[in-house]
């Protein structure tokens, strides 16, 4: 007599039992595997695989008990003894490119040469990425760039920073020359902080003069930064934009808490690019970009975003994830977020670890010399954000600029070195 049973029944029949011997049992005919109406999604398949593997295991035990040479049939894999292959099991590694990234980041050109109505010798192009930075999924068309800070009046700076600028601190033009000539800045940011009513309340006209001086002093593209005072900045940036007409400067910044339309208007009228600045909030960034495009009519190729940089140890986790989400959204097709990004990396100097002589806490291990802590704080803050997709870095310390350039350009692929062997690190004398 032949009774047909399904594998699952057999599995549940023997599953809970610790079978040592089976007596008077005969298995004949086909074993039917009932896959019936189950849709085979990967998770189901996995669960099912687990289920059938268990059943197969019970069946094998039965076979073994019945004297069938199951182990020979299965080869080495099912033997009790540990497997000892005498050569490596050859295997090929492969991984797919990311198919979700279909939308490139907008390309934005900063600076204009004489043929485009400006007076810059060179321009800087940001954006154009089709993947996360340095990934193998697609080419990264432009390297990261660095714009170095210049202020229109002496300001408080960490000692390690200040020592580099003492000779030029009273002249924005000389300061600008120095960062380009000596420190390899790709661009210069002139911060018009003296215009703040709470600082010196200098006039927009004075600010415009400072911008003209800087444009005279250097031939790289420039960023024009206000004082951060939301009432005064629109008037200051407007006047500065007029003075720099045609130069495709980056106007920093339009934000939701000031009259961004006025800044957008100045950018359109005098041919500049708008920095769209929001504070660590992806939806606010979308909203501002949308307003700049739809409400103010700023062209896509004239927008760069600053989603805010918080220093290492002081909110970099938010800044990092916010930027990474913005970049992923942009690559995945969000046309309100696929713009190049800029970081106020100088914020790293706000971290006490970057400037304080020693730890205020006696329980801390020695913090060591601050001269070395400061620049690395700026480097790591910038580097982390470069991995999240940031394109342009506003920086201050020359060593930080140099090291960040070295690592970002290495990952970008433009640094050639002799190939080397690393295996000997284990026994290296260092």
């Amino acid at each position: 007599m032949t009774k047909k049973i399904k594998l699952s029944e057999l599995g549940s029949l023997f599953g809970g039992l610790d079978i040592e011997a089976l007596e008077g049992v005969r298995i004949e005919g086909d074993v039917e595997l009932d896959l019936g109406q189950m849709g085979l999604n990967p998770q189901m398949a996995y669960a099912l695989g687990h289920e059938t593997a268990q059943m197969a295991f019970h069946l094998m035990n039965i076979s073994r008990i019945l004297g069938y040479p199951i182990d020979q049939m299965l080869g080495t894999a099912a033997q009790q003894k540990p497997v000892r292959p005498n050569k490596l099991i050859e295997s090929k590694f492969g991984v797919a490119r990311n198919e979700e990234w279909k939308t490139p980041i907008q390309e934005v050109v900063l600076g204009a040469t004489s043929s485009d109505g400006g007076s810059r010798k060179s321009t800087v192009t940001l954006g154009g990425e089709v993947a996360l930075p340095y990934y193998f999924d697609g080419p990264m068309p432009h390297r990261n760039h660095i714009t170095m800070d210049v202020f229109d009046m002496p300001i408080n700076m960490a000692k390690a920073v200040k020592s580099n600028y003492e000779d030029v601190i009273n002249s924005p033009a000389e300061w600008a020359k120095k960062v380009v000539r000596d420190f390899g800045a790709d661009m210069v940011t002139i911060h018009l902080i003296s215009t703040d009513p709470n600082i010196k309340d200098t006039s927009p006209k004075d600010a415009a003069k400072t911008v003209e001086d800087v444009l005279q002093a250097v031939d790289v593209p420039i960023v024009i930064g206000g004082s951060g005072n939301p009432e005064k900045d629109p008037a200051v940036l407007e006047k500065a934009a007029e003075a720099a007409e045609g130069e495709r400067c980056l106007l920093a910044s339009a934000s939701l808490n000031l009259d961004y339309a006025r800044i957008a208007e100045a950018a359109k009228k005098y041919n500049h690019v708008v920095l769209s600045w929001t504070q660590l909030e992806i939806n606010a960034q979308k909203e501002l970009n949308r307003k700049l495009m739809k409400q103010c009519g700023v062209a896509r190729e004239n927008i760069i975003m600053d989603p805010t940089t918080a220093a290492l140890g002081y909110g970099l986790d938010y800044a990092y994830t916010n930027m990474e989400r913005i970049r992923l959204a942009g690559l995945s097709g969000d046309m309100e977020l696929n713009f190049p990004m800029s970081s106020g990396t100088t914020n790293a100097w706000g971290a006490r670890e970057s400037w304080m002589v020693s730890s205020p806490l006696k329980e801390d291990s020695d913090w060591g010399p601050r001269e070395y802590r400061g620049p690395i704080w700026e480097i790591i803050t910038g580097l982390t954000l470069s991995l999240a997709g940031n394109d342009l870095f506003m920086m201050m310390h020359p060593t930080a600029v140099q090291v960040l350039k070295e690592i970002t350009q290495t990952l970008y692929g433009s640094k050639e070195t002799e190939p080397m062997n690393i295996e000997n690190w284990v026994s290296a004398v260092i």
Binding site: A47, L88, F93, V95, S365, G368, L383, M420, N424
Partner: protein, 469 residues
């Protein structure tokens, strides 16, 4: 993990809503299993015999995509790997990158002991806890098995931290394992050349093992072969070249391995990954330059998927950014970061010093604190418990209120009438609308500070000390 909704998990749970896990329902518990805030073992009923099958099944289905590997024994044991995502906003990364600092067997004994102590004693206070480093890697530089075992023994006597034993010579590894086999060290490394003997050691001593090859086909072949031999606690080192195109390619290998392991579910390579930023020292000899570059390499691979790394520089300017960046990347983005509520001193306040209010959102608090201390403003800074929400949002959302502010001072037993000459509070500019309420509830004078703490110095010049009424 293979399940992605509480409902899917619920099917395997006892469904009796006994609440022994601390959740009211099995469905709620299921949600915690999905977001990994609870473990299956938190459910007592499922551990009983009747549920054994479901327990086993669920355990498999809930297992993280990247295998979790334990190094070390006892309370210092460290888990690495165990991740389920490739971007931190998708959930959170688990098991922060383990930092193993090297010692070597040609060091004079006292130097070795000092270095190990320096590693195990390192700490940096941050948001209510200490950031530390957790492993010691012993390198066989001498090529002499006796010397190597001597160093391993000394390290084991000096610290309980987990160890990484580094040598490509199976005989040296075997001798060292004989000494510290009870400590579950990680052994480094099996390669295309020595894999057979190293696999035997991993089997015999039941220790986790690193597989090394910068060629991903070879690396996968090693992993597949080791799995076939029954070894599952594997760590992959795809090579960390310190410069040039080779570094770019190293970066790409880390990204490829992790994408294959998590996004494509390739079990054969779904293991923790090791990086060796120490390789910076193979190209730079000057301490500052090498330490800087090592920190740069470490940072790249903390962000992109290293689960464990070998480091050399104990310079504070290398270690501080490294431990902070690791904390940055591994902080759970689902919970707002908070500081302990209370009234804290900034600098050395006197009775004439201002009392400034802010929230207990760590980012806000530390920003304000650093603005005050960097400008040498001696004051009291009150962190009001707003559930870790910033000023503007907590005023709007009702977490920052006059009652909460009053409560903060009462709990801290801080009586302004006694501790200050001015009985004045300074509210953040963004909380200006609370002024009347706070005056009513506390009976104190309330001033409105600037909307950005960066402006406090200028504000102080104009407004402090307050004019007598």
């Amino acid at each position: 993990m293979k399940l992605n909704s509480p409902l899917q998990v619920y099917k395997y749970l006892p469904q009796i809503n006994c609440a022994e896990c601390g959740d009211a329902t099995c469905m709620a518990f299921g949600a915690h299993l999905i977001d990994r805030s609870k473990k299956l073992e938190d459910c007592p009923p499922i551990l009983k015999d009747g549920y054994k099958k479901k327990y086993m099944e669920l355990q498999t289905l809930l297992a993280p995509e990247i295998r979790q590997v334990t190094i070390g024994e006892g309370e210092h044991a460290k888990k690495i790997g165990g991740d389920d995502i490739i971007y931190r906003h998708q959930l959170t990364f688990f098991n922060p990158t383990a930092f193993a600092y090297d010692v070597w067997d040609t060091m004079p004994e006292q130097e070795l002991v000092d270095r190990v102590n320096k590693i195990s004693n390192f700490r940096k206070f941050y948001v209510g806890k200490f950031l530390k480093v957790e492993m010691v890697a012993v390198r066989c530089v001498s090529g002499d098995t006796m010397k190597f075992t001597g160093a391993v023994k000394k390290v084991a006597e000096t610290t309980k931290l987990p160890m990484v034993l580094c040598s490509f010579d199976p005989a040296a590894l075997r001798a060292a394992l004989e000494i510290v086999k009870d400590r579950r060290p990680l052994i480094y490394a099996a390669t295309e050349k020595n894999w057979g003997e190293v696999a035997e050691l991993a089997l015999k001593y039941k220790v986790p093992v690193v597989l090394f090859s910068p060629d991903l086909d070879t690396l996968k072949s090693l992993a597949v072969t080791f799995q076939e031999m029954g070894l599952k606690d594997l760590v992959l080192d795809p090579g960390t070249y310190p410069q040039g195109k080779q570094l770019k390619e190293s970066f790409e290998r880390f990204v490829k391995l992790r994408r294959a392991g998590i996004k494509e579910g390739q079990k054969d390579i779904a293991y923790p990954i090791m990086s060796v930023p120490m390789n910076a020292w193979l190209v730079y000899k000057d301490t500052v330059t090498a330490s800087y570059w090592e920190t740069v390499l470490a940072s790249v691979f903390i962000v992109r998927y290293a689960d464990i790394m070998i480091l050399h520089s104990l310079e504070p300017y290398a270690m501080l950014p490294e431990v902070h960046l690791r904390d940055t990347i591994y902080t759970d983005p689902r919970t707002p970061v908070k500081v302990a509520p209370g009234v804290n001193e900034v600098g050395s306040p006197t009775k004439d010093s201002p009392v400034i209010i802010t929230t207990n959102f760590a980012l806000t608090y530390y920003t304000v604190e650093s603005d005050l201390s960097s400008n040498k403003i001696n004051c009291y800074l009150a962190a009001v418990d707003t559930d870790g929400i910033g000023v503007e949002a907590s005023v709007a959302g009702g977490q920052l209120t006059a009652a909460k502010i009053n409560d903060t001072f009462q709990k801290a037993s801080f009586d302004l009438k006694e501790k200050t000459t001015h009985s004045t509070l300074i509210l953040p500019g963004l909380a200006a609308r609370l002024q009347g309420d706070v005056e009513d509830v506390t009976g104190l004078r309330v001033m409105i500070g600037p909307p950005d703490s960066g402006r406090i110095p200028g504000w102080m010049e104009k407004n402090w000390p307050p004019k007598q009424k």
